[in-house]
Amino acid sequence: MGGTEHPPAVPRTAADLTIGQAGVIASIEGHGSVVVRLLEMGLVPGTRVQLVKRAPMGDPLQLQLRGFHLSLRAVEAGRVQLREVAS
């Protein structure tokens, strides 16, 4: 990697995804009822999650995973750590 080109920022969490971009979940950060709920809705490690769109003011996010659509706030999406990006 050289030259003056900046490499595109690699999304670290689902909150960093750009529209249409997808990633594979590495883990869910944190403890408590929200994390349990996120895991049970299917946001388990290894799941592919894609950003469909954001609400008018950038929050919440509409994510696609496991064949359905889920609405999450940016703060919750920020707990979804990604390990690789797919598009």
Partner: protein
């Protein structure tokens, strides 16, 4: 006759309600799970059109059985028999077009080891999206019988009924073993729980609840609690993660076997049509505009259709009253029947059009899938205001009428958030306050030097009252959430289902249920209050018989006497005893202030705002001082009083029903009356100081 109990469970948005309605012929009783605010529907399974000895129990739709909220706790406890006996069988309803998620719940239910029948619903949608599965393959893979249904059209219901009747034998508890990759502490934790006599299914339930800090929702026994307390929070959390991961690993394996794994990993075939609609409906500009339009359409329709219906009911009640009075002849008992009982029944029925229409629209918006989009659009704003997303429509409805609005808060699952919303709603200026504002403005804010122009001034004043009420409602919510009803903002983890055409039969059944419930539970209270108020304003009877119900009569009534004795309290807010009687009478309904004032001034006040009443108020002078009794300032103080006062017995009745007790309605009434008085006091006294008196 032993009844066979079949619990019906499934995710939300899978058509469970439709299937339940079809299987029971929509004949069911609504009750409560003991100790919870969650409702339960129970109905007999129809066999050949007749009620059989099988009882279907509709459990709340949940995404999981882990007790993270009340709904899941109820579902697990009912299915596993924690509180009462376990059901004889379970009917598990899955969305065939969404198996990638539904199967997780299915695996949890199968861990319980009860005889289970799987209803694969919405197979038509699955077919259209290209994700159909072979029911036989699914049956073989899960080890349970599977029937295909399309509850929208009724297809497969007969097959489902037959299969339920044949269902017997205990299933084996199908426990999903933890992966090899799972932490050893997780396996040990489960083993430790089982060692104290906990069933494997319950052990998994407890671990998840413990990781979510919600053991309070479970029926955890002391030895089990001890085992959980002995390990660290990290161990508990890891164990929960490992259990969930293992289940999803099994789900993925099943999806592979059924041949749909690829389709649902990289895309969402069932959402393709909905995505096109959402390109508009959740578009930043078009979406918001559409939302505002839809809300406007709903509320305009309600006014447009409810108003004539309400007028019709009022006329019918009036006609009935006159006819009965004609039959029975004049007398005390006649008055009790006409002005007490018949008027009371009228006061209850008059709400039916608004309730029915609001719930019809809400039902259609919910079942079509649109409300999830609305929640998506509004979440930022609502959470900034500290409000629950589902509070929007009830709060907005409060501008029309608090009664259906308060009833509509039932969709808010958190009890505290629901209560905050219910307490906020009466502050929204409902349509009944309008006649009061119109009367005061029309009587006292005429003539003299206008600020801009008379009609603009009047309009601004009216707008000011509405702005004041909105800010007060938001302020009340703010305060309640930070003091008495503190609860954290619930996270948003909301499924956006595919758009579907609502099944009208379901929606109308809900409207019918809610209306019937209102009439039975709130209606009795409203009727009682009507009779009491009638008595307070009609007794003691004027012995001379002069002016039946005229100004002398009403001033001599108990209500009148109370108002006169309260004059020292009314003076500081700029009001006299006649307004005092009006305030007492307006507890029946705010607009009754107008007719009660009319009576107090000796009018034949039948319509809402007679011109003569305005003149009478304007020209009324104090017999002692010769000064006008009412001024612009006193009118302003009165309007401000009504912005805040809870002068509506029906609101009290509905809050009593929704909170199942008198504590909150009493709190609401006294706090609002207190605030109303203080606000009017401030307005009037400060106004006097500024020389506006």
């Amino acid at each position: 006759m032993t009844l066979r109990r079949i619990a019906v469970a499934g995710n939300p948005n899978v058509g469970k309600t439709s299937l339940f309605n079809l299987l029971t012929g929509s004949r069911y009783d609504v009750g409560n799970y003991p100790g919870m605010t969650v409702e339960q529907r129970e109905g007999r399974l129809l066999v050949g059109g007749e009620a059989s000895t099988n009882v279907l129990i509709d459990l709340p739709g949940t995404y999981s059985l882990s007790a993270v909220s009340e709904d899941e706790a109820v579902a697990f406890r009912a299915l596993s028999g924690e509180d009462e006996s376990a059901p004889d069988a379970i009917l598990l309803v899955l969305d065939a077009s969404n198996l990638a998620r539904n199967l997780y719940f299915a695996l949890q239910v199968l861990e319980l080891g009860r005889p289970t029948l799987l209803a694969l619903n919405m197979v038509d949608a699955a077919r259209d999206a290209g994700v159909s599965v072979d029911a036989a393959a699914l049956s073989e893979a899960l080890g349970v019988d599977v029937v295909e249904t399309v509850a929208r059209s009724g297809q497969g219901v007969r097959g489902c009924t037959d299969a339920l009747l044949k269902l017997e034998g205990g299933g084996d508890a199908q426990l999903v073993a933890l992966d090899d990759a799972a932490a050893s502490s997780s396996t040990e934790l489960l083993a430790a729980l089982e060692a104290v006599g906990c069933s494997p299914a319950k052990a998994r339930w407890l671990v998840a609840s413990a990781a979510a800090d919600r053991l309070d929702l479970t029926s955890v026994r002391p030895p089990e609690a001890e085992v959980l307390a002995k390990v660290s929070a990290r161990v508990r959390h890891t164990a929960a993660e490992d259990i969930i991961a293992a289940r999803y690993a099994r789900v993925d394996a099943l999806l592979e076997k059924l041949g749909i794994a690829d389709a649902v990993r990289d895309g969402a075939p069932t959402m393709s049509a909905s995505n096109r609609v959402d390109a508009l409906l959740t578009h930043p500009v078009v979406g918001l505009a559409a939302f505002v339009s839809i809300m406007a359409l709903v509320f305009v329709s309600i006014f447009f259709w409810a108003d004539p219906l309400m007028g019709g009911i009022e006329s019918a009640i009036g006609w009935l009253s006159e006819t009965v009075a004609g039959w029975m002849g004049p007398g005390l008992f006649t008055d009790l029947v006409t002005e007490g009982v018949i008027a009371g029944v009228g006061n209850v029925l008059v709400f039916v059009p608004q309730i029915a229409l609001l719930f019809l629209f809400i039902g259609l918006l919910e079942d079509s899938g649109y409300l999830a989009r609305a929640a998506f659009l509004l979440d930022r704003l609502m959470s900034r205001l500290g409000l629950h997303g589902r509070a929007f429509i009830p709060l907005l409805s409060g501008y029309a009428c608090a009664i259906p609005a308060i009833m509509g808060t039932r969709t808010i699952s958190s009890y505290k958030d629901r209560l905050v919303t219910m307490l906020m709603i009466p502050y929204m200026s409902c349509s009944a306050r309008l006649p009061i504002y119109a009367l005061v403005i029309g009587a006292l804010f005429v003539g003299g030097d206008p600020w801009i122009s008379e009609s603009v001034d009047q309009g601004l004043l009216l707008l000011g009252m509405y702005a004041l009420s909105t800010l007060s409602a938001l302020g009340a919510g703010f305060i309640y959430k930070r003091t008495v009803l503190k609860s954290p903002t619930p996270p948003l983890v909301l499924e956006l289902p595919p758009y579907r055409v609502p099944r009208l039969a379901n929606t109308t059944k809900v409207v019918f249920d809610r209306t019937k419930d209102f009439i039975k539970s709130a209606g009795t209270v409203i009727l009682a209050f009507t009779i009491v108020l009638w008595a307070v304003l009609s007794f003691p009877r004027d012995a001379t018989g002069a002016g039946q119900g005229g100004p002398t009569q009403i001033s001599k009534s108990y209500g009148g006497r109370v108002a006169q004795s309260l004059e020292p309290a009314l003076e500081p807010i700029g009001q006299d005893w006649r307004v005092g009687i009006g305030i007492i009478g307006s507890f029946a309904a705010r607009e009754v202030l107008v007719s009660t004032l009319g009576l107090a001034y000796g009018m034949e006040a039948d319509d809402d705002d007679p011109v003569e009443l305005r003149a009478a108020i304007r020209n009324d002078t104090d017999p002692e001082t010769g000064e006008p009794t009412h001024s612009r300032l006193s009118g302003l103080a009165l309007m401000v009083f009504f912005v805040y006062a809870c002068q509506c017995m029906s609101t009290v009745a509905v809050v009593r029903r929704e909170t199942r007790g008198w504590r909150w309605p009493l709190f609401m009434f006294t706090s609002m009356t207190g605030i109303a008085y203080i606000a009017a006091l401030i307005v009037f006294q400060v106004g006097l100081l500024l020389g506006a008196g």
